[in-house]
Amino acid sequence: MSRIKIGLLVLSVVIIAIQFVQPARNQNRQVLDADITRLYMVPENVKAVLKTSCYDCHSNNTNYPWYANVQPGGWWLASHIKKGKAELNFDEFRNYSKRRRQSKLKSIASSIEDGTMPLPSYTLIHKNAKLSKEDKTLLLSWVKKTRDSLLLKN
């Protein structure tokens, strides 16, 4: 066999082998008590936008795309989800302190305004997660309303 053939053979063995290393799935199914929708008024249309554009990385339930089953795609995805959840988890919102809730809402608004979220690398594949102008206005006004109501309570 030629060198190239052997190389390709080994490479394909490796690729097949890594398919068996599947990261654990981020899927919880039930709505938890700590969920943001149980804490604040979240209108249905806002909820829908949050679900499609944010929840894949910022909740306990990821809607997995096809490439999650192909390694190393799934690993890459898992690391993003881990980071995303550490930063902000809508399903754990109640567990944040009052101040942290305020800060999280502030950061949500600024990331949407600056266009840093959803991640461009994510919307490249997930076209429907891209926020339209209307989506942005909707989310921003919801965040503002929620923040104002929190300020009144304090």
């Binding site: 190389g7 080994v10 490796v14 082998a17 009052k98 101040r99 942290r100 800060s103 502030k106």
Partner: protein
Amino acid sequence: MKTLIFSIVLSTMFFAACNNGTPKNQTADNTTPATAEGPKTKGGSIETGSSIKDLLNSYLKIKNALTKDNDKDAADGGNEMVKTFDSFDKASLTAEQAKVYNDIVDDAKEHAEHIGANAGNIEHQREHFETLSQETYELVKVVGAGQKLYVDHCPKYNKNKGANWLSETKDIENPYLGKSMPACGTVKEELN
């Protein structure tokens, strides 16, 4: 033959790398209790943990770096502040002071972390600095600064929404606008 050996080496390396994932985490877990014990013994015998003065020093380091548009020094200050929070001597606080401290600590620490992690993105550091300033102010207000501090206000920051900061000097040096508008702002309050 060489290629074959090379490929085998490569694939074993690859698997070794994969397998390392879990043991590595385990060693990390093992070291955590060890480091957790560290400050305890330190706090008991040699020195008490960090104080409000240490917190303020790291805060002012961030502030001064931002006035000079220096994102790297601001990040250093942020990381320092995280450490200071971690080793903070809560026992020295009264019940009322502890209440405010507990109220702000997790959020303030997170802001400091973000400032530490965002060298290269000074605007993001400033966003976090804004809330961090507010929280530091509230803490100083009940705990006392132990030094003269000025509460300054910049009306222009964030599309004229304005923001406050704490300074050790009476002269205005704006951390939000940096070198582009160093003297923008006024002293709102003086703390002793």
